[in-house]
Amino acid sequence: MSAPATWNAQPRRPAWGVRTPRRKSLATQAAILIAAPPARVTIPLTGSTGIAAIPLVVRGQGVRCGEPIAAPAAPGLATVHASIAGRVTDIGACPVAGSSGPVPCIVIERGTSDAHWDGYPAQPDTATLPADEIRRRIATAGIVGLGGALFPTAAKLDSAGPTPLLLLNGAECEAYISCDDMLLRERADRVVAGGRILCTALDAELCVIAIKTDMPEARAALLDALDQAGDPRLALSTVTAKYPAGGERQLIELVFGCEVPVGGRPADIGVICQNVATAAAVADFFLDGRPLISRIITISGGGITTPRNIEARIGTPVAELVALAGGYAGTPERLIMGGPMMGVALPDDALPITAATNCLIAATAGELGDTAVEQPCIRCGLCVEACPAGLMPQELLNAVRVENTARLAELGVSECIDCGACDFACPSHIPLTAQFRTGKRLLSTAQLAREQADRARSRYDARTQRLARESSVQATTPVGPSALDALLARTRQRDNPPGGDEAD
């Protein structure tokens, strides 16, 4: 067996980013707890695409664990599986963690038996499978991006060009979150196996697994697993422990030294990025025949009695996971789903988790800084240093406040990735990221208005020309039924794109 290669053995030091206090070790003291099936799960049918899967079950129907319960509405989207065995009690819109409104869900109440559906045979030997067959099975497995995006993995793989570079993102850069770290420590072999399967599915010659310098245990476990596998396509890369080094675009910059063009996707430059947990889920499906029914979640924060990582079924209510972590300690002020930077504050802990829920933080008052009063910008430039997108937040802020959309476009507000690093750096406590969300809305509204104005103008021009033409024709031709028909037909075509309708 050859020693596994490391890619960019020297950690790249990004000029951007912020160093947040390290709080990952809170939840890495205990091994991953595999939670028993909860009494009730609420499984969302929509992923990042917003297109709901079509239910295959009816209310009252009994289901086994792992059984398909909803079929993808379009090719490339993911199948949804029952995460526990039991009976379907409801199909309808329910609120879930991290979603602004109710989403279509299937509710399952646990039955007495814990029967597993065995419709997916294990296929450990993937090397002989054709690439498109592997991608089709990944869609069947219901695997979506577990980094938080929930983008269907099969669709992402389908978007790849020939022989792409595969990047497995294990550089979780938000403080508190340690689910990928723990996954790599305990199940590095699964991540490596998943990486190999994905390589085959993509026809990729290189798969780089990226972690951060502050994950020595994960690094050791990965090197072991890579050594075991002895696959020359796989390599390990270690990047600086700075936030947001684990952002897809930022990680591509750090590992491969190239940037994703504005408006483009990583696939455009030949990179396919997947979370390490996604790779492990792929391995679980091919090696064990287990579809995506659970994920690892970090339960952490000062308001949790014994912070730890839990492998929980999709759809488990947040409160049950908190109970498994010893319950609340004191009275936490906020319950955050995701990291402290990009995570959303949940209004209530009865909400069910989704496949995107990588972390729950019960934060006590003052744990994440006091909500201080906003002060004027002193142009200290800390936000400029922090911005991973190369923006100048303090200038963008002025442009948002005066609603100057031309300047917002010039300064690149659309390139803001919402990471919140500028907010974290700002000594004046200005809610910059929230302002930039407003700026993006302003810009897209202005762009829409401009497009509509352009369309109206060209339609008006065409109409003026047509009237001029018709007035010259009318002088010679009397208006008959055929002329009226032509007029009607033209009117019906009004909704067509400008230029095509009137310029005949």
């Binding site: 403080a175 675009r249 009063v373 004027p376 002193i378 142009r379 430039g381 190369g390 974290f424």
Partner: protein
């Protein structure tokens, strides 16, 4: 269980404008004490006048602008401006000089432009330049540094207070008797009288690099600057630019002819070079926010300082250089914008 909801990001900076200003004040404190050690208690009188007038002016300006008074005074920015202004003044200085400079600095330069964060010019330096051109004869009140073996009358606390309050020295003392021309003044006059640097430097007021005594004040200013760098309050770009620009110019001309050009060491450790490099030019509000812009800004100040010292009508050029480069900040910032991720270079 229900919880508060806030939009992301959920985490806020642990630092604040007020804490940054407090660190700047503390970083300047050793240099203030060393200055008092060598030049007497006058600096404390200047600081008291500048802080009182500065805070008073800020309070009035905030009131007139219908802004919260107490909360804004607490950010410490007016006190920092007052400290830097007072540090630049001669230790023997009548109160109205200090007061008029502070009223101008805070009232016009800071608040007429929109208050903290919006002023184009560095308030302390604008105030200093105002009093420098308005009261040229009163800006020479630098006592000889107390380096032990000089036969001059050191102004007492009472005399300093008397002068500060009335503009006149008590008894038979005259200003000429207790003050001495600064090192940069001597270099300027000496070279103007066609003397060589070696001849000029025979005067005991010269130390190893700059003025005896003052070079120690400069050392402690630099030490405070190093602390600010260490604590991340300032970045290296501006000090490197200022000192590099000054060193480059001074070094070039000194190597050409050391007889008629002051040494780079003298330039760096005299006048306001260190204060300018670490405390003045690094003022976030009136300097660029980009790394490259800060280098350009700093280098411009260094080069202009040398030009004004060597060929201008003032012995020291830091204040003028800072104000001139402040004017260029919007332009520098425009030229040195970072490249946006994913956009073609």
């Amino acid at each position: 269980m229900r919880f508060d909801t806030t939009p992301p990001p959920q985490w806020q900076s642990a630092s604040s404008v007020a804490s940054m200003m407090r660190i700047v004040m503390l970083a300047l404190l050793p240099a203030i004490l060393v200055s008092a050690w060598f030049y007497g208690p006058g600096i404390f009188f200047n600081i008291v006048v500048a802080v009182v007038v500065g805070l008073g002016t800020e309070a009035v300006a905030l009131r007139l602008r219908h802004k919260p008074v107490l909360a804004t005074l607490g950010d410490g920015s007016a006190i920092v401006a007052a400290l830097l202004f007072a540090f630049s003044l001669p230790p023997l200085c009548p109160w109205w000089v200090t007061a008029s400079g502070m009223v101008f600095a805070i009232g016009l330069v800071k608040h007429a432009y929109g208050g903290l964060g919006y002023n184009l010019f560095n308030p302390a330096m604008a105030g200093y330049v105002l009093v420098l051109v308005s009261f040229p004869s009163l800006m020479t009140g630098w006592p000889e540094a107390d380096i032990g073996d000089l036969d001059y009358q050191r102004p007492s606390v009472a005399a300093t207070l008397h002068y500060g309050l009335t503009g006149e020295l008590p008894d038979a003392l005259t200003l000429d008797a207790v003050t001495r021309a600064t090192v940069l003044d001597r270099v300027r006059e000496g070279l103007g009288a066609m003397r060589t640097m070696d001849e000029i430097r025979t005067n005991p007021v010269f130390g190893d690099f700059g003025g005896a005594g003052w070079e120690w004040v400069s050392n402690f200013v630099a030490l405070g600057g190093a602390a600010l760098l260490w604590l991340g309050i300032i970045r290296w770009h501006v000090p490197a630019g200022v000192l590099g620009g000054l060193l480059g110019m001074a070094g070039f001309f000194w190597l050409m002819d050391p007889e008629i050009h002051a040494s780079p060491g003298l330039h760096l450790f005299s006048g306001g070079a260190m204060l300018g490099a670490f405390f003045i030019a690094t003022d976030p509000v009136s300097s660029p926010t980009t790394a490259r812009g800060r280098l350009v800004h700093g280098a411009g100040i260094g080069v202009l300082t040398y030009i004004i010292r060597s060929w201008g009508s003032y012995a020291d050029g830091i204040a003028f250089a800072v104000l001139l480069m402040n004017m260029a900040v919007p332009l520098i910032e425009r030229w040195t914008r970072p490249r946006i991720y994913g956009r073609p270079g």
